[in-house]
């Protein structure tokens, strides 16, 4: 059955740092800025809290795209957490690409607490990107797809 991309609504998991992007999401909401309801936000204490297993588990349990949002480099609440996260995610995304997983399914974006507009724009563009890629079939557990 051909996939109808018009109808497909991707499930997106967004890991958001408590100190910036999560507040950014709040600001987007209170500013009445729209972004798709398919984005499920998981609040983490720092972008550095996200280990590669989190990303893979999100895909396993049915996510079509996973995005990590943290403080801008230099603004980490814990000084340097996002620098470590940046290296880790770079390597992980490169590995997923190497395994043949479409590289548009993962993204890292730095969003501050003041950037409600950026948060909404980021989510809109990411959802659009994942929608264009279609459902995630290469990195999920079949048992979770029923």
């Amino acid at each position: 059955m051909p996939i109808n991309h018009e109808e497909f609504r991707p499930t997106i998991v967004a890991f958001c740092c408590n100190w910036c992007s999560y507040a950014g999401a709040d600001l987007a909401g209170s500013s009445r800025l729209a972004y798709p309801a398919d984005v499920k936000i998981i609040r983490v204490p720092c972008s550095c809290r996200v280990n590669p297993m989190f990303i893979l588990r999100a895909f396993e349990k049915g996510a079509d795209g996973v995005i990590l949002c943290g403080c801008h480099p230099g603004d980490c609440h814990y000084s340097t957490g996002n620098y470590y996260a940046r290296r880790r995610m770079t390597l992980l995304f490169s590995m997923l690409d190497y395994l043949g997983v479409e590289n548009g399914r993962t993204r890292v974006e730095w969003v501050s607490a003041a950037e409600g507009v950026k948060f909404s724009e980021t989510m809109n563009s990411f959802v659009e990107k994942v929608r264009s890629l279609g459902p995630n079939v290469r990195l999920g557990d079949l048992r979770c797809k029923n």
Binding site: K61, G62, D141, R143, C144, N146
Partner: protein
């Protein structure tokens, strides 16, 4: 005795698969394992030992048992369907056929394992003689004849022709499905080949391994032996030996959360693993020495104690080939022989 030319095997496989699922040794990414046949499969009958044994066909590495779903406040439980269609397992070696006997005594004795029993009922075993047994083989020690395997149908490859001999009712039914592809063969040709195979087996270094001192009694006499402490040291605690073994039958039952329900599945377990037989109070084997000892005493003492002295090793030699540290059951048997305990 019937026969078919080696070059016609593809037609034979195609015919068999018309009415049965067909599993046979297939080479994938450089390694040969039992897999489902299709026109594109790279069938490999030359490799003596598949990496994994064919026990998967009856006792898969992991299989779903049932699924629970919750919808609108109601919970439904759907058991996994039992095997109902016939399937053919082609090209099993003598040791692996005997291994199925070992598994039968576990899964078909009361309480009968219905998943296993259904597969056994619908599975037809076409065995294949070993024309070039290797150093690591020691099936003779367990009274297995590499030249005359058991099975529903027994086959031999001699001079580019596959000789086919149905032994059971199931085997006769399968033969009837493909009878027009086969021609009459000379049993004497097979007998000559059998003599040649037996002569090679005689020469194999481990064919004369002594099992003295093993059996039910060993559970008492060898349990506290200091030899175990010496032997286990290089063990990495990986599960290679247990997962390539045709007779290892321990499994674990686990639940998987699918998000909308639970799937209960079972999967092979390994006595080499730290959570093997873990219970509420913890684990009853706390050191790798104990886990290591468990594996060999299970094969050579506990199983025989419960099964009229039958060992649960068939001498396939997979552990001899595959252990990353080159530990194996042969070394264990020889170490005890040397110590004389």
């Amino acid at each position: 005795m019937l026969k078919i030319k080696k070059c016609d095997l593809a037609a034979l496989f195609a015919r068999i698969s018309e009415n049965n699922d067909l599993y046979l040794p297939v080479k994938t990414a450089g390694k040969t394992n039992f897999a489902a046949w299709d026109e594109t499969a790279d069938v490999d009958l030359d490799t003596l030992k598949t990496v994994k044994s064919p026990k998967d066909a009856f006792f898969p590495q992991s299989e779903n048992l049932y699924t629970c779903n919750k919808q609108d406040g109601k919970t439904s439980i759907t058991p996994e369907k039992l095997r109902e269609e016939p399937f053919v397992l082609f090209g099993i070696r003598a040791c692996d056929v005997r291994a199925i006997d070992v598994l039968d005594r576990v899964f078909l004795s009361d309480p009968v394992d219905s998943y296993y029993a259904a597969r056994r009922e619908h599975g037809i075993i076409v065995s294949y003689a070993c024309h070039a047994p290797e150093t690591s083989c020691f099936c003779k020690v367990f009274g297995i004849d590499a030249a005359a395997p058991e099975g529903d149908v027994v086959t031999w490859m001699v001079n580019g022709e596959l000789y086919w001999d149905a032994k059971t009712e199931k085997g006769a039914l399968l033969t009837a499905q493909i009878r027009d592809l086969l021609t009459d063969g000379d049993a004497a040709v097979v007998e000559t080949e059998q003599a040649a195979i037996r002569a090679i087996v005689e020469k194999l270094p481990n064919s004369s391994l002594s099992l003295d001192g093993w059996g039910a009694e060993a559970a008492k006499t060898r349990f506290d032996s200091p030899v175990w402490e010496q032997l286990y040291k290089p063990c990495l605690a990986c599960g290679t030996c247990t997962f390539v073994c045709p007779t290892c039958q321990c499994y674990d039952i686990k639940d998987y959360n699918t998000g909308s329900g639970v799937q209960r599945y079972r999967c092979w377990d390994s006595c080499m693993y730290s959570d093997f037989t873990m219970m509420a109070h913890g684990n009853n084997r706390t050191s790798q020495m104990q886990r290591f000892r468990q594996r060999f005493l299970h094969k050579l003492a506990y199983y025989p104690a419960n099964n009229d002295g039958m060992f649960s090793c068939v001498g396939c030699g997979r552990c001899v080939d595959k252990c990353p540290s080159h530990l194996n059951i042969v070394k264990v048997i020889k170490a005890f022989e040397k110590e004389g305990v």
